[in-house]
Subunit: 309 residues, 2 copies
């Protein structure tokens, strides 16, 4: 079998990749995610798009190993989703339904786990079997690979590292209802929160007092040598580096991959995070490498494809 | 194949169990651990003891699935130990050497991971595939089972949950060299540390001011309604419950098994730990069960046997 499909379902678009089983991306395209009517069209739309592509390329199912699917919700080991607000789904047997629609083998997983698998297969984590991927976006997502397999857990909620409590004194609440979650300090939104608090604390001059406050603005100001931005990044990095040291003590990775919008700040970010990681890492974890994610938006389709191989 | 052996190597004795592959413990015995000369006799002694037992019972190797070994050091996926101070070993290819000595299939693992596997197979974790076992002894040991397999990690150091940092303000150092590790508050030694600090803080009357201070004394005083002991246990439980909530966010277990000497305080312990766990658990982890370990000193031989099955 020469080919497989990787499908990355998001709330707005579905990204689809056609891969050779050795990892070569042959084709990729997108379709719209029709979330109306509890997202009833989402899987049939994907199945139709795959069939169309196979006809276009004169492929038959005997040439395809199967279809891997990543989606934004916890997915259990049987490919069942309890609820996915972004897609409109309630309870959904994703793997079974897609197998019935296509007649091909299907595997499904949570998008953060799947992105981690993608980076392990074709990106920054190549050659590693024990890996943590952290996605620093609007929230903080996590995907953990143990011995080459995603850590799914009992509820499909493995790797929810954005919800580690890192501050037992916090007074504000996280979106999850708890207080002091890593996500409140290490996401793009979290960096803005830290910046707002720091800027409000005194009148020190800063580039950040002009224009709109964003995570990008903070890292841009850091690169300009802005001292206040430096303090904000130190605080961000202390939460993230200390949190990752704790996660490493539990899962013992050989590499930690940093991705998501905040990681666009580039390699300057890694030095800050590593400093605080080293400060608290258990001795066995001191040689854990830090790298920036390489696959960007393709991590989802790559990892989804790997799910089926 | 009807039988397998489970071997639990400690610094003083080696415990050995002969099991049927369905989990029935047929026989168990101990031999001395000869740690002198870099522990060169340890594996040959075990091999000789197994052979003797097989002769005594008129068993041949065709009836034995293999030998599982648990030992007090990180063990990588190839059964290699870099260093085990308690046994006297430096670098040792445990699995390969034991296979050569016995002609049987061997699998080796870290004792904390192996104990967790034992509780999953024959103890308090029966029926679960995602489990955390916490051993509260002189230190805090951890074994994590993900989808039925021990989480070994890149350096064989998976599940080192005693070394999560739970207090970034701590001034004293843990045995590992860091400050604020969970082990400093949740081990038997840790409870004594918390008790010493609390008793030194003021002159409140307490049963703990008489006799020798120990973790057992603290829990005994708690059961007598001693208020100071109650405060110490609350503090112990807050560190442990909060730490376990963070570990659960990462590994998503369905059950957490509490074992080790401190767990002899009994089920009163679980309520305290669960209270703080619930305070900080991510919503997907709120239904995680807490149970006391059931196998006691047999967890090691049981889990070692399961390693090979």
């Amino acid at each position: 079998m020469k080919y497989c499909f990787g499908v990355d379902i998001g709330g707005t678009t579905v990204k689809i990749g056609l891969f050779k089983t050795d990892g070569e991306l042959v084709d990729k395209w997108e379709i719209k995610t029709h979330t109306e009517n509890q997202g009833e069209a989402v899987l049939p739309d994907i199945a139709a798009s795959l069939k169309e592509k196979m006809q276009e390329r004169e492929m038959d199912t005997a040439q395809v190993s199967g279809i891997g699917i990543g989606l934004p919700a916890p997915v259990d080991e049987n490919g069942i989703v309890k609820n996915s607000a972004n897609i409109g789904w309630g309870y959904k047997e994703v793997t079974r339904e897609m197998e019935e629609l296509t007649g091909m083998k299907v595997a499904s997983g949570n998008d953060a786990n799947v992105a981690a698998l993608g980076e392990m297969w074709l990106g920054a984590g190549r050659g590693h079997k024990n890996l943590i991927m952290v996605t620093l976006g609007t929230g903080v997502g996590g995907g953990i690979i143990v011995n080459g397999q995603p850590l799914i857990g009992a509820h499909g909620a493995g790797g929810e590292i954005g919800h580690l409590c890192m501050n037992y004194e916090e007074s504000e609440a996280c979106g999850c209802g708890n207080k002091g979650c890593l996500e409140m300090y290490a996401s793009a939104t979290g960096v803005v929160r830290l910046a707002g608090r720091r800027l409000g604390a005194d009148d020190s001059p800063s580039l950040l007092r002009e224009g709109e406050l964003s995570a990008k603005a903070v890292f841009d100001a850091l690169k300009e040598g802005d001292q206040v931005a430096g303090e904000i990044v130190e605080e961000f990095a202390s939460y993230l580096g200390h949190g990752l040291a704790n996660i490493a003590a539990v899962t013992d990775p050989s590499v930690i991959v940093i991705g998501g919008g905040v990681s666009k700040a580039g390699s300057i970010l890694l030095g800050y995070i590593e400093k605080y990681f080293q400060e608290k890492a258990f001795f066995a974890n001191k040689d854990t490498k830090f790298v920036l994610a390489e696959l960007g938006n393709d991590a989802g389709i790559c990892g989804a494809a790997k799910l089926i191989l």
